[in-house]
Symmetry: C2
Subunit: 343 residues, 2 copies
C-alpha cells in the first residue's frame, strides 16, 4: 500500500536507481532496450516520481512561474493562456500560482523560487510598494506585467515591466467623455497607495478635467467600499446605488474597471435610469464581457495579448540571453460602444 519509489522500480527491473533516473529523464546515455523495459515497468506499476525530491535535487528545472493577484480577474485570465502558449514554445513549464488579497506576492515568489528552482517570475497585477528590498532577494529575472504600481524610486535595473500608461489612458477616456459634452463625470475608483493602478487612473481623470477647465469635485469621486471585494460587480453596484441616492447632478459615470462599470449599470437600471440616454457609462480594461452586456460597454481596451507576449519575451530574453531589464509601455485603445453618448 505504501507508495512505490524509484528504488522499487530499480529492484523490479534488476537495475540501479541511476539507470531508472536516466530512463525517466530521457538521458541519452542509456541503452534503448533497458529504457523501454524500465518505462514499461513504470507504467505497469503506476510509478509516479516525487516532485519534491526532484525539485530538491535538480539544478536546472526549466520552469517559470506566473503569480497572479486575485483569482477571478477576467482580464488576467484572458492573458494567462497567451503566456502558457509562449512558454510552451520555449519548452519551459509554467507554474501558475494565485495569491490572495492579503498575501504578499513577493513572499510567495521567494518561497516558490526556492521550492521549484524557478528560472524566472511574472507578476500579474498587484502592488509593489515598500518591497524593494524583498524584490532584490529574488535572484531570478522577473517581469511586472500590468502592474503599474511601482514606486518611481525603484531601480529600473531591478526588474522589467510591461503595461499601459494607466494615467494617460484614463486621461484619454475622460477627455473623450468631456468632448462628448459631459462635464459632470463621476468616477468609481479604489482608494489605495499613491502608485496603485487605481490611483493612477484617478489622476488621469483629474488631469483631463483640469486641462478642460472643469473643476474636480469631491462629490463625484466615488471611492469603492472597503467592506466589499475590490474591483467587483458588487462594489460597483453598491457605490453607484449610494451615489444615486444623493441626487448629485451627473451625466456620465466612469468606473476604472469594466466589471465595476457593469455593477454600476445594474444600480442605474434599478433607479430607472437608461444607459446611455439618461446616463453614459464607461469602463476600463476591455474584458470580453463588456462587449456582451446591453448596451455594450465603452471602455479603454488594454492589449492583453500583446502585453502577455511581450512579458514572456522580456522574461526569456533575460533568462536565456542575459538581456538587460526593459520597460515597455503599450497604448490602450478607446473602444466606443453603446453605453456612452454625446449630449
Amino acid at each position: 500500500m505504501s507508495e512505490i519509489t524509484i528504488k522499487d522500480v530499480a529492484r523490479i527491473c534488476g537495475v540501479g536507481v541511476s539507470t531508472v533516473s536516466r530512463a525517466l529523464n530521457n538521458h541519452p546515455d542509456i541503452n534503448p532496450e533497458t529504457r523501454d523495459k524500465i518505462l514499461s515497468v513504470i507504467k505497469e506499476n503506476n510509478y509516479i516520481p516525487n516532485n519534491s525530491a526532484r525539485n530538491l535535487k535538480r539544478q536546472d528545472a526549466k520552469a517559470i512561474a506566473v503569480l497572479v493577484k486575485g483569482i477571478d480577474n477576467s482580464f488576467f485570465n484572458e492573458m494567462i493562456k497567451d503566456m502558457e502558449a509562449e512558454c510552451k514554445k520555449k519548452k519551459y513549464s509554467l507554474v501558475l500560482h494565485h495569491v490572495g488579497f492579503m498575501e504578499d506576492q513577493v513572499d510567495a515568489a521567494l518561497e516558490l523560487v526556492k521550492e521549484k528552482r524557478l528560472r524566472g517570475i511574472v507578476f500579474l497585477g498587484g502592488y509593489f510598494e515598500n518591497n524593494e528590498k524583498k524584490l532584490e532577494q529574488l535572484h531570478v529575472p522577473f517581469v511586472l506585467s500590468t502592474a503599474g504600481a511601482v514606486p518611481t524610486s525603484y531601480s529600473r535595473n531591478l526588474y522589467s515591466s510591461v503595461c499601459v500608461d494607466d494615467e494617460k489612458e484614463s486621461y484619454k477616456m475622460t477627455d473623450y467623455l468631456i468632448r462628448q459634452g459631459h462635464h459632470n463625470i463621476a468616477i468609481i475608483y479604489e482608494k489605495g497607495m499613491t502608485e496603485s493602478i487605481s490611483m493612477l487612473r484617478l489622476r488621469g481623470y483629474q488631469r483631463a478635467l483640469s486641462d478642460h477647465g472643469i473643476p474636480v469635485r469631491e462629490e463625484l469621486m466615488l471611492a469603492t467600499r472597503p467592506d466589499i471585494k475590490d474591483f467587483s460587480l458588487e462594489n460597483g453596484y453598491a457605490v453607484t446605488k449610494d451615489f444615486l441616492q444623493k441626487k448629485i447632478e451627473c451625466t456620465a459615470i466612469y468606473a476604472i474597471s469594466d466589471i465595476m462599470a457593469i455593477g454600476a449599470g445594474k444600480a442605474l437600471a434599478e433607479e430607472g435610469l437608461r444607459v446611455p440616454e439618461d446616463m453614459s457609462l464607461a469602463g476600463f480594461d476591455g474584458v470580453n464581457i463588456g462587449g456582451y452586456v446591453n448596451p455594450s460597454l465603452t471602455t479603454i481596451k488594454q492589449p492583453g495579448e500583446k502585453i502577455a507576449q511581450e512579458t514572456m519575451k522580456l522574461l526569456f530574453d533575460m533568462i536565456l540571453k542575459k538581456a538587460e531589464c526593459q520597460h515597455k509601455i503599450f497604448d490602450g485603445e478607446l473602444v466606443v460602444r453603446g453605453s456612452t453618448r454625446c449630449i
Copy 2:
C-alpha cells in the same frame, strides 16, 4: 549569493539545526529565548525554508488540494473562497491547482498527493469517465464537487460527491419555460460523454418536452462549436448567430450555462431581437454576472456556498473521523428574472 539554508542559520546562531527546525515549526520543547534569537536571525538574513525539502521529509502535512477544471469558471471561483474559509477553520492549508482542458485531473492529483503529502482532494468540475483505476490509486479521501459526470458503474465507496441533480434541474427549467407557453425552445449544450454535465442537462430538457407531449426537434438542439472555448461567451454567441440565420421558429433559448446565455444575448441583440419580448432567454448556474446583465437572466441557481461547505465537511469527516463515503445532492433554485416572459 547562493541561497541560505537551515545550516547557515544554525551556524550563525551557534546552535544545532534541529533547534532551528524547532523554532521554525513552533515546537514546544525549546527555550523561548533561543527561539526568539533564532527567529530574529532568520528575519535578518531573510531565510526562507525550502518547501520541497520540507514536503519530502514531513509525514503529516496538514494540507488538502482543490483541483479545478479550467481557469475562468465564475461559478467555481465563487465556490473556492468558501472552501478556503472552511479549510482555515480546520487549520489545514489549501493548495489550489488549476488543470487545463487537455490535462487529466486524476494524473494531476496523483502527482500532487505525492509531492505535497496531501491528506485529501477536492475535484471541482471535470469528467471522470474511464478513470476508475487511476482513482483507486489515489490513497487519500476525495470528493467530486459539482462533477456530475461519474459513470454509474463506479463503486460508491470509492469517493464522496456533492452536486445538484443536473438532469432534474434542467427539467425544472424546461418545464418552467413550457408552462410559460413556450413550445419551440432551443437549447445550447455541449456534445460530450454520456455522463457529462452538459449531456445530463440536455436529457432533462428532452424529458420535460416529452412529458408535455412536445416533440424533441433536432434543429432546436444547438451543439456548441468545438473550435471555440467550451462554455464561453463566444461559443454561446456563435451558436446563436448560426441558429438565427436559419430562421427556425422559436420563442425561447435555454443555454446550459449562464455565460453562454449571455453570449447568446448578444447575438439576439445584433439580429434586432428584444429579450424577452421577441425571445425569452435562460441560463443555468446562477453566477453573479447573470444578475447584472440587462435584462437580468432567468436561471437555475446552484447553491454554490452550500455545495462548497458540504464538500469540505465530507472531506474532513473522511480525513479526521474516517467516515464513510457519502453522496449529497442539493436542490437548485429556479430564479425567474427579466429575460423570460409568458407568451
